[in-house]
């Protein structure tokens, strides 16, 4: 995401947490837009300071966990803060659009610019298969009602005079779930949305927000209950310091214990390896992984035909949360997540109470002034394997299943590195034909490019995150064979 938009979102999270930790949460929350844009300040982005404050207010509403769309502007942030404190339930609608920010975006269309020379050859008119282009006053004109946005004319014009006007959120969505409606505002169709979070990153105005559960988590920490953090494998590389220092930092932030979800990833890998062997013995051609929450949403909403080929093995989070709740039935469990899709998965899993993404955890460290690199290390009760800790990198899951088998050659992997229109089409083809390309028999699907380290709520760039992760992998043991 554009650097400033993400900076702004994080700053608001820090301020909400600071407000919570102060002695007057409601009043301090009400003041957030005024503290960030005090009277007389130079206006950084919008037309005036009042609009800046209005937009910051909307972003704060999302940070408090409420949908911005339902705000009628009369309710003060103090009231929202109060409502957040009283809230018992969280919603399954994980995203919310700040429509006041998205209005500046033009509609998705193909447009002929002034560079059109009105040439004799007119390659655009021949390239268009839908008869949408005609010549008016010696220039090409597109009839929007006929145009299918195929971009054939864009590619055909020798003057590069025809352009596609993009709507970044629409372009980024692999399933067409976010659209600008007739009023020009973007809105999300939750029946289609797979919660991949791509739109939150793509929008240059930072208009799409995750509905944060940070207040609910802080409330649980403040209560007498035990609160357990379960950190996703991709977290290694997201913060300075080691994952052992990170554990100390999370404990200092108020959690009672920290589990690596990689612990569950070891179970997932071993279970999936057994399942793979069974399926192959039954004569199946291929099996796909089942641990990516975005992919699971895709299967449910758009790709039911692939169901018979999807592994029945549960996700690393599932096994970890089950374990924690067995050991500590009254504990509140918080999954620390790289993406919004895991919010959807967690909502359906009674063993996971809340989700906090990496940005929110980072904001909590900032608000509490925790310096990770200066802390002592704390060991985990169970040390996870190298392969499990690499679960969040593209190719890592199928590698771990492979490493679980004595005959590693039995697996011929096919890796889907990121869901997009092409890879979804490919998966559809595998499902309908009943076999995978190139004689492969195990398909790993990760919704985000690069894997979970490319998740929408990650902090570090992939290159440096990977470098940091590799240091940890080098010191980790190999996975058990089945």
């Amino acid at each position: 995401m554009a650097g400033q938009a993400i900076h702004l979102k994080k700053e608001i999270l820090v301020r909400i947490i600071k407000a919570f930790l102060s002695d007057d949460f409601e009043e301090q929350t009400r003041l957030i837009p005024y503290s960030m844009r005090p009277k007389g300040m130079e206006v950084p982005y919008r037309c005036c300071i009042y609009k800046e404050r209005a937009i910051i207010k909307d972003r704060t509403i999302a940070g408090l966990g409420f949908p911005i769309e339902e705000d009628d502007e009369t309710v003060s942030l103090a009231t929202y803060a109060k409502k957040a404190m009283e809230r018992k339930e969280i919603s399954d609608k994980n995203l919310t659009v700040l429509q006041a920010a998205c209005k500046g975006c033009a509609t998705n269309r193909i447009y002929v610019t002034d560079l059109c020379q009105g040439c004799v050859a007119r390659p655009c008119t021949t390239a268009c298969k839908f008869g949408a282009i005609s010549i008016v006053n010696g220039r090409s004109v597109i009839d929007d009602s006929k145009c299918k946005k195929c971009k054939m004319c864009v590619n055909a014009c020798p003057y590069n005079a025809i352009v596609k006007i993009s709507v970044p959120c629409e372009d980024s969505c692999p399933v067409g779930a976010i659209k600008k409606d007739e009023t020009g505002f973007a809105s999300i169709d939750y029946d289609k949305c797979i919660n991949c979070g791509r739109c939150t990153v793509a929008c240059p105005f930072g208009a799409v927000h995750e509905r944060s559960q940070i207040v609910d988590i802080l409330k649980a920490i403040k209560s007498k209950k035990k609160v357990i953090a379960m950190i996703a494998p991709s977290i290694a590389g997201q913060f300075p310091g080691t994952i052992y220092q990170l554990k100390t930092a999370i404990l200092q932030a108020g959690f009672d214990d920290v589990y690596e979800v990689a612990q569950g990833a070891d179970i997932t890998a071993n279970t999936e390896a057994k399942e793979f062997v069974e399926r192959m013995e039954k004569g199946k051609n291929f099996m796909t992984t089942s641990c990516c929450a975005g992919y699971n949403q895709l299967i449910k909403k758009h790709l039911t035909e692939i169901k018979p080929y999807v592994s029945d093995t549960k996700t690393p989070l599932y096994y970890t949360a089950e374990l924690v709740k067995k050991e500590l039935p009254n504990a509140v469990t918080v999954f620390v997540s790289p993406c919004v899709a895991k919010r959807a998965e967690s909502f359906e899993n009674k063993n996971v109470d809340f989700v906090m993404n990496y940005e929110e955890l980072g904001a909590l460290f900032v608000a509490k002034k925790i310096q990770i690199t200066e802390l002592e290390e704390t060991k985990y009760t169970v040390e996870s394997s190298k392969q499990a800790r690499n679960f969040g990198v593209t190719g890592g899951v199928v590698e771990s299943v492979k490493a679980s088998l004595r005959d590693e050659e039995a697996i011929r992997p096919f890796v889907i590195n990121g869901l997009n229109k092409d890879s979804i089409r490919q998966l559809k083809k595998f499902a309908t034909s009943g076999c995978c390309d190139d004689g492969c028999n195990m398909v790993e699907v990760m919704c985000c490019e690069g894997g979970c380290i490319g998740g929408n709520a990650t902090i570090n760039n992939q290159k440096t995150a990977k470098k940091q992760l590799e240091t940890l992998l080098n010191d980790s043991k190999d996975i058990d064979k089945i």
């Binding site: 650097g3 993400i6 900076h7 994080k10 700053e11 820090v14 503290s35 960030m36 913060f239 300075p240 930092a249 940005e359 980072g362 904001a363 460290f365 900032v366 002034k369 925790i370 310096q371 990770i372 690199t373 200066e374 902090i459 570090n460 760039n461 440096t464 995150a465």
Partner: protein, 84 residues
């Protein structure tokens, strides 16, 4: 001429607020300036804790000059000015 020293803050706040991209400086600076400029990571420079100034993170120090909301471009600009 004295060497220019660049300190990139590796404190939690700077990292969380966008400091990760500054790690590129470790490659860019030696390549561009050779041994005229020295770049190093630094523990928290303590700049974020003064008066809510975390919102100006990430920070980089070029000799004694503090670069706020630091980006690779901003830091290089300050170095160029020092060397000119």
């Amino acid at each position: 001429m004295a060497k220019v020293t660049v300190k990139v803050c590796l404190g939690t706040t700077c990292f969380v607020m966008g400091g990760n991209n500054l790690q590129e400086l470790n490659d860019i600076i030696p390549e561009k300036y050779g041994d005229k400029v020295e770049v190093m990571g630094s523990n928290c420079l303590g700049l974020c804790s003064i008066n809510w100034e975390y919102s100006k993170a990430p920070y980089v120090k070029v000799d004694e000059e503090v670069v706020t909301e630091a980006t690779v471009e901003k830091v290089l600009e300050v170095i160029d000015k020092k060397l000119a």
